[in-house]
């Protein structure tokens, strides 16, 4: 019911969503919320490389999913995160949550993506024409995660 993936391969949305749908059909859950993050071409970014902490990353994502399951009545949680080098327009992260009703599914999806931003050990490096740079953490992300208590 919880599916975690940290992968260098592109994220296959159709496969990921179909997996969520299949896992909840038996449970009679009717609503699936999802969030997909794409690499943006801000300020001339040509490529984005995601570094991570193998082992801890998977455990951190699992903990986020388990916290969501403890907080809402969910039929499924899928969190997929890409690592390695990707280009603008490619998917970095995919979160899907399924629940009986839309409000729970959407809240749980927001929660997972907010927590993932602060709780999972990933680091982004942007390649631009002016050279490479490590992306700085955004205070807004820490605030969003804290707002969940």
């Amino acid at each position: 019911m919880i599916r975690i993936g940290v992968q260098t391969a592109p994220i296959d949305l159709a496969e990921a969503l179909a997996g969520v749908e299949a896992s909840i059909e038996a449970a009679g859950m009717g609503g699936i919320a999802s969030f997909t993050g794409l690499v943006r071409a801000d300020d001339g970014v040509a490529a984005l490389t995601l570094e991570h902490y193998p082992g801890m990353t998977e455990a951190a994502l699992q903990a986020v999913a388990e916290a969501a399951v403890a907080r809402w009545s969910l039929g499924a949680v899928t969190i997929l995160h890409r690592v390695g080098t990707m280009r603008p327009g490619e998917r970095i992260v995919f979160v899907a949550t399924a629940a009986a009703h839309r409000a729970e599914a959407l809240a749980a999806c927001s929660y997972c993506i907010d927590r993932l931003k602060t709780d999972a050990p990933f680091w982004k490096r942007e390649a631009t024409q002016a050279g490479d740079r490590w992306v700085e953490a955004r205070p807004a992300d820490a605030n969003a995660a804290q707002d969940w208590g």
Binding site: G37, L50, E51, H52, Y53, G55, M56, A59, H81, I92, V93, I113, L116, K117, T118, D119, A120, P121, F122, W123, K124, R125, W134, V135, E136, A137, R138, D141
Partner: protein, 85 residues
């Protein structure tokens, strides 16, 4: 006691390696004190750990604060604030 040190992102780049196994002195009781000692090892280490406000850490794959005790740790990771998602 030997401990495995892991570095990520620009901390890794500054230190010059992503992983090393070291035997810190007994005075390194907290993570902050361990970092004080690590900073003396090379210019790269000194540069990596110069700005403590920009460092985060995990002991045995759990995020910890800089005053966390390091006794018994098998794996200590030091890195910038995370930027996933």
């Amino acid at each position: 006691m030997a401990v495995r040190l892991l570095y990520f992102a620009w901390v890794r780049e500054a230190v010059g390696t992503g992983e090393e196994t070291l035997d810190p002195p007994a005075e390194a009781v907290t993570l902050g004190q361990l970092i004080d000692w690590l900073s003396t090892l090379s210019l790269g280490h000194a540069a990596a750990f110069a700005d403590r406000g920009r460092l985060r850490a995990a002991i045995d794959q759990q995020f910890v604060a800089m005053d966390a005790p390091v006794a018994g740790a098998q794996e200590i990771a030091i890195f910038p604030p995370v930027t996933g998602g």
